[in-house]
Symmetry: C2
Subunit: 395 residues, 2 copies
Amino acid sequence: MLQDLNLPRRLLLGPGPSLVHPRVLRAMAMPLLGHLDPIFLGLMDDIQTLLRWLFATTNPFSIAISGTGSAGMEAAVVNLIEPGDAVIVGINGVFGARLATLVERCGGKAIRVEAPWGRIIEPEAIASVLQRSGPMKAVAMVHAETSTGVWQPIEPVGRLCRDYNALFIVDTVTSLGGAPVEVDQWGIDACYSATQKCLSCPPGLAPFTLSDRAVAAIKNRRTPCQSWYLDMALVSDYWAEQTRAYHHTAPISMLYALREALRLVEEEGMVIRHARHRLNSDALIAGLIALGFDPVPLLDQRLPMLSCVSLPASIDDAAVRARLLTTYGIEIGGGLGPLKGKVWRIGLMGESSTEANVLTLLNALEEIGIQSGWLSTPGAALQAAARVYSCAATS
Amino acid sequence: MLQDLNLPRRLLLGPGPSLVHPRVLRAMAMPLLGHLDPIFLGLMDDIQTLLRWLFATTNPFSIAISGTGSAGMEAAVVNLIEPGDAVIVGINGVFGARLATLVERCGGKAIRVEAPWGRIIEPEAIASVLQRSGPMKAVAMVHAETSTGVWQPIEPVGRLCRDYNALFIVDTVTSLGGAPVEVDQWGIDACYSATQKCLSCPPGLAPFTLSDRAVAAIKNRRTPCQSWYLDMALVSDYWAEQTRAYHHTAPISMLYALREALRLVEEEGMVIRHARHRLNSDALIAGLIALGFDPVPLLDQRLPMLSCVSLPASIDDAAVRARLLTTYGIEIGGGLGPLKGKVWRIGLMGESSTEANVLTLLNALEEIGIQSGWLSTPGAALQAAARVYSCAATS
């Protein structure tokens, strides 16, 4: 027989999940309503309203998909792309590459526009492919590349998509709730995210919105969507007030949690929330630079909720991360793919983005550094971070 | 600004979700570990061990898929069926029909073996198609048809699949945890279920197991699986102790809940749990027959966790169900598809399957019946149920 769950306390500063507010945990643990209960359907309406606000869109089709962020990515692709469709995919990390894979798995032709890991995809590179090639069904790219910490400009690509009549698919898994996402203003047609990053809700749902252009493209498909579970034409009949047709059983408890997490975002306010992410990230990066880490993206292209930094040669990746986890209860992320062993990915997302957490992590690193011999004098990292906070306080 | 979640109390006696034990809600609300935290990976191992026990299998591949039961169905089909594959699908309700749709959405050829809604698929009907037709990639059918309450014999079809070298896909969404499911003994190659039925865990995960034959079929695919999110070759690298490769972020809180729900099943014991479902269902059906309802399946083919009954002409489906929900806080299910308005589907699943709940529902129906004029003397339904319980107590 297994033991009771007896979990250690963790400070979650990796690339997600982030810390979850007690109010969200409490909402998630409420006894269940049925998925067709009128009161539950009302909660779904609340979620749709809050998601429209969060995505800055008037799209009627704004829902939470019953799967994690990757299910959101798959839903965007399998609903909009049909066999033979050509799709430009921006690739500068793991998640852009995953988008291309998904396009190919539904019979589309992925035209890869690549940039080095750690650099943005230049909108001009997309423009030049659009000029040279025939009609494109869509352009797909990642707003916040979680594998490199790069912050991709989206708006100029949105304008190109309108000019060339291509649908625009954007991954905001890591950015939504931590940095501006302007679905309508940027001309995004399909936008998906995840709950466990800057929304600080447990993983399991994918916030998702489709423009009317995208909904029309789905209506006009030549072939049925290859996924039934993620067929948005069917799923929308459950979320729509006029129909409420059973499709699959909604993940009720997760939707309670999401509603509460979105309320917390609303209570804080979007502008303040984004500024908080920016400030804590600036303080963290100042401290990390003082310790000899080197930001992977250019400083004006790095994300405010996820810092990807190269390790100084003196630091043993696995050993220090294990020490952080076991001695300090702090989780940070290692590198993916070609960056494995070379970088750390430190998330300050949602509830995890606080001054206390920045200082706690920097202090732990300094302690480990002194003990392991790769740091001789403590204090520089904390001092550098403190300077950022005090500048902000007096400005 | 939205209000706090302030939910009414519901007695969940529909076709799922069922009531959730407070221990499961409490486990789900524990603060999060990262999805690659060694302690979290240990919990995944616990879940795999308990799922093997629950499915009565030694299959190494026994996991929980990050989606609801329908995602489990899609995972079974998209991983095993390739374009051009012929698949026999047993259809006697909504969920068999859904299986056939999924087979077609991945380019397979669905050979429908149909039976009237409310009747089982005769194994002889499957045998005769296997004899007449060429080689079949698979046979797919539903163990517990949630739309009709029919209990499908599985073992004889499993033997046929072995004889004809076809993979055997079985839907145990509604049965697992409430009636025997013997994956190895019945020769099942892919078996999926859901958490919100007889396991009494919130919806959002699909328990899933693949035989070594099924795993080999996936390894030998001619084409990549059309779903990336549900690609079991990739997902298995996350669940396997040897690899633990990141695929998508696991729904951490839901997995806490499932682990606790499985512990509760283990503590009760499978034989006692199945007998409990049987007894409460017998009492319920005796009471419903006394009220003039007519079981849709034959009495020896009806499920112990879901009773589907035809309404007497005097009863107004929507009005009585609304009354049950608003006055008594009791949810039961209506009919699906051609049975809409004609039947009720009453679930006594997992935590919902208790003597108190049977009596509470029958009493509420008697009260409504007296008030609405379709019942003249109260007590017959309660008496009939009580007789079943007292027989069981003295036998």
